[in-house]
Structure formats: C-alpha cells, structure tokens
C-alpha cells in the first residue's frame, strides 16, 4: 500500500498541517462555518480584515455576480480587533488550524497598534497585512501602491511584533514584484498573492452600476490566470514564500498555484458557493498526489517545468 502523501507545508516561519487556508473576507470570523465543514481539517484560517475600531461598511448593493466571479465593495465592515480577540478567538482555539489575523488601518500608527494588540495573544499564529486601503496621511493613496511607503509600514509593524508578517499584495499596481521587494526590505516573512482585482459592472437596461459604490474587487475563477502570473513572478523575483489566492476551487487549481511557486493557498469566493470547499479540495488533493505517487505536497512548490 502506498503511504499517504505528506501534506505539511510552511509559509516561511508559519507551519501548516496542509496547504489549504481560507482567504480573508470570505470565511467570516471562522465560526460561521463550524457546522458546515470539518473545520479541524483546514490548515489555516485567515480572518476577515480587522481594524482598531469596528467599521460599519458600505450601503447596498455591495456585491454583484459577474461571469465566473463576483465584485464586492463591502467597505471593510468588521467588528474590530478587540471584539475579535475577546469574543471570537476563544471559540476557535479548539481547532488545530493556524489562525492568521488580517489587519488594516488608515495610518501607520494604527497598523503598529494592531501589531502590539495581537503580540501577546498566543492563539494568533501570524499577521497578514491588508495594504490595499487608503493611507489618510498620504492623501488616500493605498499603502500597497508605493514601495517606499510600504517598506516603512512593514518595518514599523516589524518593530512591534515577533509573529510572522505576511503582506497581501494588490494586483492593481504596475509591478507587484517591486511592491513585494519593498515588503521584504521592510521585514516581511511572506507574501499573499493576490488581493481582488479592481473592477466594475453596469446594467445595460437601468444604466446603473451594479454596485452602490461603483467599483469593487473582482474575485473567483475569473481572476485565476492573473493570480498565477503574479504568484509566479513574485516567487521567482522576490524570494519570499508565497500564499496563493485567486479563484481556487479544485485540487488541480491548488497544484497549479504550487507549481507557480506558492507554498500554500487560500480558498476564497468558492466558499460562498460551497462552504465545505477547502475540505473537499484537500481530499481531492490527497487523491491527486496518491494517484501520481507523489510523496509530499512540498515537492510541487515552484516545480514548474518550463519549455526548453
């Protein structure tokens, strides 16, 4: 009998029992899914983006479906870091999944404060920084759009935490590699690629945009080729471990991201349609590896075979 394949992987210092994580903003705070899936089988849970204070979010319509995906402009609605740590985290600590908190602020000081707030919380395994939000000290330009600003931001967070820092890169920049390199210089341990792709949808009859706030983030299978390209570039050129995100729905998708250079993956929009998606994909992945006599998932990382 063939031994079961080794599913363990690591994203820099973050060790995972398997490469399947849930993407920020698509898994609520985690507990919403407890009765719909085998939560204990998931390698890592990335929380909804958390800010220093609760945020109410945008008016409806906040989401709309597009071909092969969806647009969202939820408006960063969240319960705030304190409510998460006090009310949600205790319910999750019984699960073996690594808890990664996705954090964002509108100033560097807010990011520093968030890092200090989670530093003494043992159940939090790592920080994922959402840098796709407006920097009010720089006229609202996103932190993740300017290499210098991003490097300083990551360095400031680094001063305030001993936990692994993962920076989530936006695809809406000329060169994600330049931004990824800035994150590395600032002291990031790993990168998540990619955040949603800025998009828009319009109804031809009513002449209205389908989102109240006009534009939103595109996610789902429609963005997978963009995500694969960025994972490939960033893994090759930045030299930090990458967590791959973008339209993942099957074991084959996972393998493609691993081959492109991802060390782990995050399932996002697929969860809305299939709450059990990560566990189902994990089972498929075991079969995929077993069928091909592949001993370990880690053997696939960056193992793309280019043409001669």
């Amino acid at each position: 009998m063939t031994p079961r394949p080794d599913l363990a992987t690591r994203v820099g210092p973050l060790e995972l029992a398997n490469p399947l994580m849930t993407a920020s903003g698509t898994f609520g705070y985690g507990l919403e899914f407890a009765h719909l899936t085998a939560l204990e089988r998931i390698g890592g849970l990335v929380t909804k983006g958390l800010s220093p204070e609760p945020i109410l979010g945008n008016p409806s319509p906040r989401i709309c479906e597009t071909r092969g995906g969806m647009l969202n402009s939820i408006g960063l609605q969240n319960i705030g870091i304190d409510a998460y740590i006090d009310d949600v985290l205790p319910g999750l600590s019984q699960y073996p999944a690594k808890i990664i908190v996705n954090l964002f602020g509108t100033t560097r000081e807010q990011y520093e404060g968030l890092a200090r707030r989670v530093e003494g919380v043992p159940d939090i395994a790592a920080l994922e920084l959402n840098v796709s939000c407006p920097n009010v000290q720089r006229g609202g330009i996103e932190f993740g759009h300017d290499p210098q600003v991003l490097e300083e931001l990551v360095a400031a967070v680094r001063q305030n935490t001993s936990k692994p820092i993962i920076v989530k890169l936006s695809p809406n920049v000329t060169s994600p590699v330049l931004i990824g390199e800035a994150a590395r210089r600032g002291g990031a341990d790993a990168l998540s690629c990619i955040n949603t792709v800025l998009g828009m949808a319009i109804d031809a009859d009513s002449r209205r945009p389908l989102l109240r706030r006009l534009k939103g983030g595109l996610s789902g299978p429609a963005i997978k080729p963009i995500a694969l390209r960025i994972v490939y570039d960033v893994h090759r050129e930045v030299g930090l471990p990458v967590s791959g995100i973008g339209g993942i729905e099957s074991a084959r998708d996972v393998v493609e991201f691993l081959l492109a250079g991802a060390s782990a993956v995050q399932v996002g929009t697929a969860l809305f349609r299939t709450p059990n998606a990560p566990v189902r994909i994990l089972e498929e992945l075991e079969t995929f590896l077993t069928d091909r006599n592949l001993a370990a998932v880690s053997d696939l990382i960056g193992a793309l075979e280019p043409y001669d």
């Binding site: 698509t26 898994f27 609520g28 919403e32 899914f33 009765h35 719909l36 109410l56 979010g57 945008n58 008016p59 409806s60 319509p61 906040r62 989401i63 709309c64 479906e65 071909r67 092969g68 995906g69 969806m70 969202n72 939820i74 609605q77 789902g220 299978p221 429609a222 929009t269 969860l271 809305f272 349609r273 299939t274 709450p275 059990n276």
Partner: protein
C-alpha cells in the same frame, strides 16, 4: 442548516415567467419556519456562479421523506436554468436559512404579497389557518400572470375565516391599482392587528409606512441579492434603525417593520 443534494421530483409550469419545483429534502426541513429560505446551486457552472436564494414555499413530511417546493420567477440566467429543471435533476441546497415570521394566532392579520413575494407566505398562511389565526390575503401584481398560486392562497384565507383580495396594475384580475389601496382602507377601519408581507423593497416600504400610520405592527420578508446566505460574505446589508447594517440572510430575511430604516 445543512448543505444537501436535493432531487427534483416534479416541475409545475405556471404561466411564464413563474414555475415551481418539488424537491426531496433532508429531514431538517420538516422544522422549517415560515419565511425561511434556501440557497440553491444551479449546476456546476461559471455562470451562474453563486447560489440563488429561494423562499421555502412549501414543505411536507410524507412516507418517503420530506418534500419541499420552491416557487420561482425567471429573472436571469440562474432562474432560467432552474425553470428548465426536470424530474431526477439534482441540486445542492443549503438551508433552511435565516429568521422566519413570528406566528401570531391572536387577532386578525393581513398577509400582503407583491408578485413572487408570495413564495415566502404560503407556509405562514398554512400555519395560521391550521392554528386558528384569521387572515385576509392581499395579492398584488402588474397583471393576472403575476399572481401564481392565488387559488391556494384564497382557499387558506377562507379556511381561516378571511378572504382573498387581488389587485393588478392593469386591471386584468381583481381591482385595478396597487395592493396598498384596499389594504389602506381596511387598516383605517381597524380591521387588522398585524401585517405580514413579502415583495419588492418599494412595496414593503409603503406597507411599513401605512401600518405605522394606522398604529399596526408587522413584519416583512426582504428580497436582496445574496452571495452566500449564511453570513460570511456580508453582501446583503439592510439598513437597521440602530444605524448599523443588518444582514438580510442572518438577521432576516424577516424583519419587524420598525427594525428597518426604510
């Protein structure tokens, strides 16, 4: 709440664009509350990608398990595919979801449906009729086609000691005009203790205003776009009077008239 595979037993075509589908459902649906809903995955396609919400129109436990019925209206690609379902087809169905109506069997109620919003009111009408809660059923549409299953609603209203009131904007069935007109008259007479409703947002807003003006409380099942149906995507925000956003899927779809900032 359970994510299960449901098999289509039969499809009934009402005058288009309406259709209803009978499905085999897990036992958990035997306890479905009036006003609750399900999220149906229409095939394994990229379009439609997300599941579609449907009210639990009807549900009954029989010797071969629980049978549910969904009443739908063709509005886009997903509902168009659903209308073409055939016996034996299988759909993934997540549910029952959300908060249903509060059952009030004391006094007299008005049930008000705008078009396919009636899908949220059949189980309620059945429960009221079975438990001695008298009600009149107001059913409004643009034309006579917009009133699917009105005979069944009329039968239940009569069984409860009430009547069916039909209105159409073009006068092709019942009184010509909006469903709010006859309701307004009866509310002014003090005929009702409570109003239950489901339909387009504009209708529900007018109903809530009317009811409040006449000092009558009520509930509305809201129809919004939904991404997931169970509180994960935060896509179905409804303005709450407390100044926050409520989620239609989790805090609703049934809200008290005074809970929503219309």
């Amino acid at each position: 709440m359970q994510d299960a595979v449901a098999r289509v037993l039969s499809v009934t075509e009402h005058p288009l664009p309406y259709y209803s589908i009978r499905l085999s459902l897990p036992a958990v649906y035997d306890d479905a509350e009036p006003g609750q809903f399900v999220m149906v995955q229409v095939g394994d396609r990229l379009e439609p990608y997300l599941r579609r919400p449907f009210s639990v129109f009807d549900v009954a436990a029989g010797p071969s398990g629980v049978v549910g019925e969904l009443l739908g209206k063709v509005v886009g690609r997903g509902t168009e595919l659903m209308a073409k379902a055939e016996p034996g087809d299988e759909y993934r169905v997540l549910g029952p979801l959300g908060r249903g109506f509060t059952l009030r069997t004391q006094g007299r109620s008005a049930l008000v449906a705008g078009g396919v919003g009636s899908a949220a009111l059949l189980l309620l009408a059945r429960s009221l009729a079975a438990q001695g809660g008298a009600f009149d059923f107001y059913y409004g549409g643009r034309n006579q086609v917009d009133l699917p299953c009105h005979l069944e609603f009329g039968r239940l209203a009569e069984q409860s000691g009430g009547r069916l009131v039909l209105t159409t904007e073009d006068g092709s069935a019942g009184a010509a005009g909006l469903v709010t007109a006859p309701l307004d008259e009866e509310l002014a007479r003090g005929s009702y203790d409570f109003v239950y409703s489901c339909g387009p947002m504009g209708l529900l807003k007018r109903l809530a205003e009317l009811a409040v003006r006449h000092g009558v409380d009520g509930e509305a099942a809201l129809e919004t776009a939904m991404g997931c149906g169970y509180g994960a995507c935060l896509g179905c925000a409804v303005p709450h009077v407390e100044g926050r956003w409520a989620l239609c899927c989790k805090d609703g779809p049934v809200f008290g008239f005074s809970e929503v900032r219309w």
